[in-house]
Amino acid sequence: MAKMKVKNWQLKREMVYPYEEVRPKRQFAAIFDTNKCIACQTCTMACKHAWTSGRGQEYMWWNNVETKPYGFYPLGWDVKILELLGSQRWEAGKYVGKTIFEAAPRKEVAAGYLPEEMDWAHPNIGEDEPYGSIGRGEHLTIPHRVWHFYLPRICNHCTYPACLAACPRKAIYKREEDGIVLIDQSRCRGYRDCLRACPYKKVLFNPETRISEKCIACYPLVEGGAQTQCITTCIGRIRLNGWIHTPDQSDPLNPIDYLVHMKKVALPLYPQLGLEPNIYYIPPAHVPLPYLRQMFGPGVEQAIRTYRAAHEDPKFLGVLTLFGSTHQWIAKCDVKGEEASGYDAKGREIIRLPLREPVFIRPFKDERFEAFRHNIT
């Protein structure tokens, strides 16, 4: 197995990977704000109806939202990979433990495991279940002593996909134009080495066609300058699509670069696994830090502090306001006065929003209708 040295900026070091470091021209990315997710599952159902409602796809949910900590899809997926890796250590923001590639058993590409069929059966297990129970006389603190939050997940379209690395037929490829990771449906033979290797378990097997499938980042939409289904249907407006660059290429006018590299408020999921995943999360402000450090890395404390001060920073507030504001892809954005604007790749303004909802105060008595206004119903 080839072992090339590649740079992983999330780990602040080099690591091994079976292929050379070749970054796409642009990298598909998204940011999910877990502080706003209510687990309504609209994203889940949108993706299901768009892509995985066919025969053999019954257990597939390319997008899912799981409650943490007792929710999983598939069962125990993150517990298992963390256990396989053992202790994971960061030192001053640099990951000094092993990635799944570095921890791979001999002759294998990555440390991994194959879930059993029943592990996929109950996608909404653990919904709303908190860690701990509330005693008499208890009151809320930040962080919550008894806590839960919602973690929406799709394929991370990783820079260093384990699925791609594991496939002996090279049936998985990462697109040069946008970094979207796809399975060539005519080349796949259903060996499921990819299922075994992906630590996020976002490659799924179709027993009818006997080949594997995964989130395709709604690439027809992306090619047409739009954001994905799961992102645009989110009623809580917690998600934003965009292009991400490496820290040295970061563009402060790009909303993703701004939130990930400048404000450092959006973090990767289990970065210690080593795949450089490209879905970034604003961590939940009310959850105890040790659990969050395990999930999002050492940057959580600062991210939460920054997020909670958003109201003091108009530019930051403006970028957050753009989430869910348009189905079109936002390439650049800025804030002028009390308004935030999003622009497409050609620099055309596609959306403009006020930072605060305008407030109108109307008279108690409406003279025209000779009726009184109430502030209910």
Partner: protein, 266 residues
């Protein structure tokens, strides 16, 4: 239609808190609540199979456990400490019984065919967020009928769907109405009662829904619970996720370490 009249006796709180439900000695110590569920507006969690799978932790589109009435099924959230007192495990099936005076129907006998159809059986789910003494069963699922029960008991795969009408139940037996009742609000003033209209801001007089007639949902009832069947596939052993150690009170060592972020070494 069954009718039952109750007295409306007013007490101060200090008097009320000393009273006990008259059926407490018979084990009716749980308050059963039937709130609305976030994934359903009206019947959407049950009309659509993909949403029904998300209706709680027991949804399984391939129905590995042939006892499942459909791809999703009814369940009661229970505080784990309460469950353990009754020897009930996470994922087990239980019987839920309310006031025997008139639930599931007046004059029931254990040997009635109707009793078999109408006695509530449901899955149980450990939920630490539920207070002691409370059962929460989410609302809006199609209850068992004679046809669905017949199908459930005769279909080789256990599907609780009446073949003659295509009625698909999400309960194996019974339903919320096996335990809950609607109560007419006590008021002697009907024709002359001045009140707000049901919709909008106008004030009117006389009969209006929600003031004079049956309140819809949710409903509640005092109930007792009994273990019916183990939660494991086809009635053997623990429900799989509990057996594997990913459920509250059943956590395996890795799960325990995971819960407090123990995989990051400082």
């Amino acid at each position: 239609m069954e009718v039952r009249q109750v007295r409306n006796v007013i007490r101060t709180w200090s008097e009320l808190k000393e009273t006990k439900h008259p059926r407490t000695e018979q084990g009716l110590v749980f308050q059963l609540n039937t709130p609305k569920y976030r994934h359903g507006a009206h019947t959407t969690p049950i009309d659509i199979d993909v949403i029904s799978v998300y209706f709680g932790p027991f949804g399984d589109i391939r129905r590995h456990d042939k006892r499942s009435p459909w791809v999703g099924e009814a369940y009661a959230n229970i505080n784990p400490q309460d469950a353990k007192v009754y020897g009930i495990e996470d994922g087990d099936y239980i019987w839920v019984d309310a006031d025997p005076e008139d639930r599931p129907y007046r004059g029931w006998k254990k040997t009635d065919e109707d009793y078999k159809v109408m006695r509530l059986m449901t899955r149980v789910r450990y939920f630490t967020g539920v207070p002691r003494g409370v059962l929460i069963m989410f609302f809006n699922m199609y209850q068992a009928s004679h046809g669905s029960v017949r199908a459930h008991e005769t279909n080789p795969d256990g599907l609780a769907k009446n073949p003659e009408t295509n009625y698909q139940a999400m309960f194996r037996y019974g339903g919320h109405q096996s335990c809950t009742r609607a109560w007419l609000s006590p008021t002697l003033m009907t024709d002359t009662l001045v009140r707000k209209e049901t919709f909008g801001q106008l004030i009117g007089e006389g009969y209006a829904p929600d003031i004079h007639s049956v309140v819809g949902a949710p409903k509640e009832s005092m109930v007792k619970i009994t273990k019916a069947e183990p939660g494991g596939i086809d009635g053997k052993g623990l429900w799989r996720p509990a057996a594997l150690g990913y459920r509250p009170t059943y956590e395996n060592e890795a799960m325990k370490r995971y819960l407090f972020g123990g995989y990051i070494s400082q």
